[in-house]
């Protein structure tokens, strides 16, 4: 099936068809149809195409750096002047065969303390230059704690010529874990110049290169799962998953309403479940296919999961427990295994989980006791210790024998081995657990039950990769907390097969214009490198005319027509880029007002698939990075709206989403652009545009919508903007109906003091969950708001004044508690990594956990401090789910630190403006940022207000 359009339409006159449409034809005769309207939604094909696109992207990405060497040429073997030609050739050959120069000793430096190695590297930025200094740095940043490969010359050649073949090498080149890297400033860029790895690789004499090799395993496993589901149409246990993909009829699902359950839930005397928890456990045990449990913060999800595991194991079932975060997996392991003070706990099956992970360092100390890795493990020793404790308590000779044990003796301990062989409960991340041998080799449906925690963070493909191994699925999550991570560059690449390269250029220009401040649009200087400049210039101009007002659109010309142009968009061939850049460059000597001033630079946008030589006039040229191009921007804006609009509609609180809407409109293809590209008639172009938007919606859904939403229904009724309005056509209505009887919510919360739960309950759960169940003491607790004046010199994503204030307050709290002999856990949250790094440095000596908002889900502490950093909200900060998570981590006290007056002023302005517009009557919900609303809400609840001195 064609990638772009599944329609049969009368061809437009002339060269009207987009090249990639030539082989698409699904037989759907209706004009304007796309994958989301009528017909059969080819979800499977959309998933498969997305995964292939991501694999291709990774294969283009192996980054290879060179380890610098010193050329030490040995003295050439001198040929005898009287020798004949043959002897002279032999002498020359001997010179060539001399020992290769070893890399300079300075390139490698081993740390004698910890055995780590510092390796100097060089990267050919001239070759990589396409704006990739930042991409390169980000790639190294994302590779910390992952392996890098050390290569010989031959291996490097193979990797560059054929990454697929390289990945099949056996044995694979040696890889060593990357600990850190060093950079140097070159001009305005930061270049990676050295890496630190955990140890010196072996055989380094022959190693000339270090590479970040893409890990295709997760994507390959997801593809494999799709293949299994497609091929096994007669495998009844996979029918529910096939229904999820739209490959099977939900009418085939076994139906059993909860009231028809054959037996009541067994009661365990030591178990305490509230009525909502009990109902959810019952659903999980009774459902013949899916059970879904919504678990708001502190509602006892882990307790419920433990209860489900206990009952499943009692039935003799084998269970997989997965979550996309290690924290959540470890929480479950800690819940089901005995604590340090339960010395000789019974060796019941559910207390013997296998905690599988490739690396130990991501695990909590208690989960580590049950860790099994690819080559090492600690679980065996833990089980042997538990067996020892049990025997010592019950067998009279045991203690005396253990007292004289020869710890070095080898042999198979029969009891410990038998107990350790029990792997009925396997825990890990969805992809990680698939590396465990008995899971990897297991047939589809081999496991009786799969429990997925934090399922709202899992996409469809990630879920299916592990779900095929089970025959029943319990999904635990909260759609009001964080969704799947939206890597906009990775997801954007899935639109390569949807958007023609020239069309994508036009949409990217639209996206760039949308991001410019109004004052910047007239002075925007953009060079577009294209294969057909005249055609592309026309498409861009048509697109901008369609999506932007005239006075908002820059001039767009081909280079040949750009003699007098000093600002605007010049379209040229790749080899003409240098000239175009010079045309638009400022006079020498002028320097940009600031690095944030877009008009200060000439931007370069390169057509997908084209290579452009680095212009000599480097300074002042900025490549448009992938994340600013239309595919990535489509994903970003759609994502923000998808997660903000339903809350906004339901709460009646309008958020400032106009920028996202405008951005979407300009980044989506327009009918006029299609007309300029294909010269097709208007109705045809309109229909084509609708079909493209449908395909974009499908890609968005399969790559960012969580499996929770797929199973319970996407909130499509709230979406009035393209491409989200197409999502209603993707819903799994019949399947959702079949699952509905087995959907439950844990409505009570046990974490927060009642003063902390009030605002989140009202704002994010509309009073329907987060009901207080804690027996609160009279201790003081609550929310404290601390205003901190901003400093002009602070960067956008770090704030030293706030870090100072947080440090002072935490020291006070710690001292006060210590003087009373109390220990309180403290956590500090912030939206930005830069501030996280600053706070970690400041608070290093204190026992305080610091993390970003996006990584705090699943964690909790007695006291939580949130450093806001900015006094002005952004789309990133305007996500309700992010703040729901942040504001529900604290058990006793929550402290918000930031430029609160700025948010209060914003709220005041919004209310005044709204009053003015409605003739003096104050509307209940004027438009303001979410943070302004939150602070207003806490102020209204009468929280303590402080000013930082």
């Amino acid at each position: 099936m064609g990638e772009v359009v599944g329609v049969r339409m009368s061809a437009p006159p002339g060269d009207g068809r987009l090249p990639h449409m030539n082989h698409c034809d699904t037989g759907d005769e209706r004009q304007g149809s796309g994958p989301c309207e009528g017909g059969v939604v080819d979800l499977l094909e959309g998933l498969r195409a997305s995964l292939h696109a991501k694999i291709e992207r990774l294969l283009r990405m192996p980054l290879v750096a060179t380890i610098p060497e010193v050329t030490t040429q040995p003295a050439p073997h001198a040929a005898d002047p009287g020798a004949d030609v043959w002897e002279a050739l032999i002498a020359a050959t001997q010179n060539l065969a001399s020992t290769s120069p070893a890399p300079s000793p300075a390139a490698w430096r081993e740390d004698p303390d910890d055995g780590s190695a510092l390796v100097r590297i060089t990267l050919d930025y001239d070759d990589l230059w396409r704006g990739r200094e930042k991409e390169v740095r980000d790639l190294f940043l994302n590779t910390v704690e992952s392996p890098v490969a050390f290569l010989t010359d031959a291996q490097k050649l193979l990797l560059e010529r054929s990454p697929r073949e390289f990945l099949t090498l056996d044995p694979m080149p040696e890889d060593v874990e990357l600990l850190d890297f060093e950079t140097e400033r070159v001009g305005t860029s930061e270049r990676v110049v050295a890496i630190r790895v955990t140890r010196m690789p072996e055989g380094r004499r022959h190693l000339r290169h270090v590479a970040i090799v893409p890990n295709l395993v997760p994507l390959q496993r997801q593809l494999h799962a799709l293949k299994v589901l497609e091929e096994r149409s007669d495998d009844g246990c996979l029918t529910p998953l096939r229904c999820l993909l739209g490959c099977d009829d939900p009418a085939r699902l076994a139906t059993r309403a909860p009231s028809d359950a054959p037996s009541p839930l067994p009661i365990f005397a030591d178990e305490r479940l509230d009525e909502f928890q009990r109902a959810c456990v019952a659903h999980a045990m009774e459902s013949p296919h899916f059970a879904v449990i919504q678990g708001p913060p502190g509602s006892g999800k882990t307790t419920v999961i433990a209860s489900i595991l206990r009952r499943a194991v009692a039935r003799g079932e084998r269970v997989l427990v997965v979550s996309s975060t290690h924290v959540a997996v470890d929480n479950v392991v800690e819940k089901i295994t005995p604590g340090p003070d339960e010395a000789s706990a019974p060796l019941v099956v559910q207390s013997l989980p296998v905690r599988f992970a490739a690396r130990q360092r991501k695990l909590s100390p208690r989960a580590l006791d049950y860790w099994v890795g690819a080559k090492k493990q600690r679980r065996g020793a833990t089980i042997a210790t538990r067996v020892q404790r049990c025997l010592s308590e019950s067998v009279s000779i045991a203690s005396a024998l253990y007292a004289i044990e020869d710890a070095k003796s080898v042999g198979v301990a029969p009891l410990s081995t038998a107990v350790a062989a029990c792997d009925d409960v396997l825990c890990g991340t969805p992809i990680g657990v698939l590396s465990y041998e008995s899971v990897k080799l297991a047939a589809p449906g081999a496991f009786d039950l799969l429990v997925v925690d934090e399922v709202s963070k899992l996409t469809l493909a990630e879920f299916l990769a592990v779900a095929v191994k089970a025959r029943r699925w319990v999904l635990v999550g909260d759609p009001e907390q964080l969704p799947p991570y939206n890597d906009i560059e990775e997801n954007g690449v899935t639109l390569d097969g949807v958007l023609d390269a020239r069309l994508e250029l036009a949409c990217s220009v639209g996206a760039l214009v949308a991001r410019c401040q109004p004052a910047e649009r007239d002075s925007l200087r953009l060079v577009v490198a294209a294969s057909d400049p005249a055609s592309v210039a026309a498409v861009i101009a048509a697109h901008l005319a369609a999506v932007a007002a005239r006075n908002e659109s820059p001039l767009v010309v081909a280079l040949a027509d750009a003699t007098e142009v000093r600002a605007g968009v010049i379209v040229c061939l790749p080899e003409e880029v240098e000239g175009a850049v010079q045309r638009l460059s400022r006079h020498e000597g002028a320097s940009p007002a600031s690095s944030r001033d877009r008009s200060a630079f000439v931007h370069l946008l390169v057509e997908r698939g084209l290579a452009v030589p680095r212009p000599a006039t480097l300074s002042g040229v900025r490549l448009v990075e992938a994340r600013h191009r239309s595919p990535a921007q489509l994903f970003e804006a759609s994502f923000n709206l998808f997660h903000a609009l339903p809350w906004s509609r339901r709460s009646g609180h309008p958020l400032r989403l106009a920028a996202a809407r405008v951005g979407l409109q300009r980044a989506l293809p327009s009918a006029k652009a299609l007309a300029a590209l294909t010269h097709g008639p208007e109705p045809w172009c309109e229909a084509m545009r609708e079909a493209l938007v449908g395909h974009i919606a499908l890609r968005f859904a399969v790559n960012t919508v969580s499996v929770y939403d797929w199973l319970t229904g996407m909130p499509a009724e709230h979406f009035d903007v393209a491409p989200l309005h197409k999502l209603s056509g993707l819903s799994r209505g019949a399947l959702c109906e079949a699952v509905r009887p087995f959907v439950g919510t844990l409505k009570k919360q046990y974490r927060m003091h009642r003063s902390l739960s009030a605002l989140p309950r009202a704002m994010f759960y509309f009073g329907e969950a987060l009901l207080d169940a804690r027996a609160d003491s009279a201790d003081s607790s609550g929310v404290m708001l601390v205003h901190v004046e901003p400093h002009a010199e602070d960067a956008r994503e770090s704030n030293r004044a706030e870090a100072d204030a947080v440090e002072r307050m935490i020291k006070l709290v710690s001292t006060h508690r210590a003087s009373r002999g109390e220990r309180a856990s403290i956590m500090v949250l912030t939206p930005y990594r830069a501030q996280e790094a600053l706070l970690k440095t400041r608070l290093e000596a204190l026992d305080v956990e610091v993390c970003t908002l996006d990584r705090c889900q699943g964690r909790e502490a007695d006291y939580v401090f949130i450093s806001l950093v900015r006094g002005r909200a952004t789309a990133f900060l305007d996500m309700p789910k992010r703040w729901n998570v942040a504001l529900t981590r604290a058990r006793t006290g929550l402290v918000l630190v930031g430029d609160l007056d700025a948010y209060r002023a914003e709220a005041q302005r919004a209310r005044s403006e709204a009053r003015r517009r409605v003739g003096g009557v104050s509307p209940s919900h004027p438009t303001m940022s979410l943070l302004a609303r939150i602070i207003e809400g806490y102020d209204a609840l009468g929280q303590t207000m402080k000013r930082a001195s």
Binding site: V395, L401, G411
Partner: protein, 97 residues
């Protein structure tokens, strides 16, 4: 003189494998029982027979434990083995076997 680690006067010490084997034999020496009962005698309290069923396999092969229908029994060879090993480790006594 520094004693050699090969000094034949050094006291013998059991490894973990042997300790667990002797504990199983000791628990069975008190009388035949099912695997679930043996699980309880050993203090494992797993509530099932699986661990014990697997663990006694090598002991059955060695002839120290016999399976009789649902029950497990310590054989005479098993008792003798237990007695000899405990004696070796200085643990023989009226409360042992």
């Amino acid at each position: 003189m520094i004693p050699s680690k090969h000094d034949r006067h050094e006291k013998p010490r059991p490894g973990r494998a042997e300790i667990e084997t002797l504990c199983i034999l000791h628990a069975l020496a008190a009388g035949a029982c099912t695997a679930v009962e043996l699980d309880a005698r050993l203090g494992l309290r797993s509530g099932r027979s699986r661990h014990v069923d697997e663990a006694v396999g090598p002991l059955v092969t060695a002839g120290w434990v016999a399976r009789e229908h649902d029950a497990l029994r310590c054989t005479e060879a098993g008792r003798e083995h237990l007695r000899a090993r405990l004696l070796r480790y200085g643990l023989a006594g009226p409360d042992v076997v």
